[in-house]
Amino acid sequence: MALQSLDIAKRSATTTESPQARKTLEVAKLIDVSKCIGCKACQVACMQWNDLRDEVGTCAGTYDNPRDMTDQSWTVMRYAEVETEERGLEWLIRKDGCMHCEDPGCLKACPAPGAIIKYANGIVDFHQENCIGCGYCVSGCPFNVPRISQKDSKAYKCTLCSDRVAVGLEPACVKVCPTGSISFGSKVDMQELAAERVTELKERGFKNAGLYDPAGVGGTHVMYVLNHADKPALYSGLPADPTIAPTVTLWKSVAKPLAMAGMAAAALGGLFHYVMKGPNEVSKEIEAEVERELEGEK
């Protein structure tokens, strides 16, 4: 969603600096998994605010519905039944969606200038009008978030309600959550809030409770309070140490400059070889030899 009211910190496929004069507060959304009851009000609010309507799917025997994120479902609740040693059977429910990485792999991979934007407040947004539909963001993302529409071939994901945040509103999911499981504010405030909640959870016996703000992607602007922060994978495969894949880094940070230099060297090498060594002409001697051979034939 194109928005001029938020400052841009980083722009896909752009090699020059972004404007940096104005300083804005970094924001974050904190999802406290230990307070979530899995009601999906956030999913509904997301659809409503963003004018989305997914197809009615089928029930696969779990509460996961839709089963996965799509271009129409930018956030989905994932329900995991796990047995932990300390507490036996537990139902761990995680609201999945874009993590709004500080170092976004989607943006790194994107070849279209301005199709992916990171605002100064930390929100990562897809600008569909610049998107060419190549799907590189899917390869770049360590959280399997971007979805390419079958209809228009554009990439979609959670915007962190950048349009609402720009005018001082909280994201739709935050507004609607009935248990106060989702909070929104400055990143620092959210970290403090999380620390308080983690202490509480520890007092109540969740000795591994903690904040999920993974350093491998520079931290995220969507963070989780997890009651088992030592095992994020329990929460429907949340990666323990997400980073931009080494293949993507090799592709975008190593291969790209080396290849450009190599191809330029080949072209310039040719030109200078020609200028310095001259063309490889057929020698007069051989021309004369061939003439004589042809004379002989007659």
Partner: protein
């Protein structure tokens, strides 16, 4: 259109057409691919009707190129087997590049460098085709694990760059060695050209 009845036929009309279709596809692929490869080259997408059209067209052109390349590959592969003299040629290539080809071993229709280029292009096309299918988001990427798609993107970019560099060398060699380009334009070369650069082939063609 006979320029000189003594000229030697190097390529048939159909071989030339095959080569040019492949060559045109290659140029379109290189321009469209590079436009997505580096931001500095993104303006090249304008040649194809914008970023989205570039993304749509590139893989289809790739498939066309692959079809014509395969035909060309099987037409020419028999003539591109590396022999002893070819390795000797490769070892001495530096002398040739420095402008002195007096001591180069006698070459058949293709020299050692051309043959190595031929096999490299075969490998590069295979890698580009397979990785190109893997990263073709609209139809195929969803069928591959994400790690494979990432590797596909890396390999596609690396082999595209290598192939572009190789083709620059290929085209330059044709310009540098005077009298070569006409082989791909009208199909013939002069006898003196053949005797100087491909003496074994010259002997085979003329019996001299």
């Amino acid at each position: 259109m006979i320029r000189d009845p003594h000229d030697l036929q190097r390529y048939t009309a159909s071989e030339r057409a095959n080569h040019w279709v492949t060559g045109i596809c290659f140029i379109l692929l290189a321009l469209s691919g590079l436009s997505l490869f580096h931001p500095a080259l993104f303006p090249l997408t304008m040649l194809f009707g914008g970023g989205t059209w570039t993304r749509i067209l590139h893989p289809f052109i790739g498939v066309v190129m692959m079809l014509f390349f395969v035909v060309m590959f099987f037409r020419f592969q028999g003539l591109n087997r590396m022999r002893e003299a070819d390795w000797e040629w490769v070892k001495r290539a530096k002398e040739m590049v420095n402008g002195d080809d007096h001591n180069m071993p006698e070459m058949g229709k293709y020299n050692g460098g051309q043959k190595l280029l031929f096999w490299f292009l075969g490998v590069a096309m295979l890698v580009l085709f397979v990785s190109g299918i893997v990263i073709w988001r609209a139809y195929f990427s969803a069928s591959f694990p994400i790690g494979v798609v990432r590797l596909g993107a890396l390999l596609h970019a690396v082999f595209a760059a290598l192939m572009i560099a190789a083709i620059i060398v290929h085209v330059y060699a044709a310009i540098w060695v005077r009298g070569t380009i006409r082989a791909m334009l009208y199909g013939t070369v002069t006898r003196a050209w053949a005797k100087q650069h491909h003496r074994a082939w010259y002997k085979q063609m003329t019996g001299k």
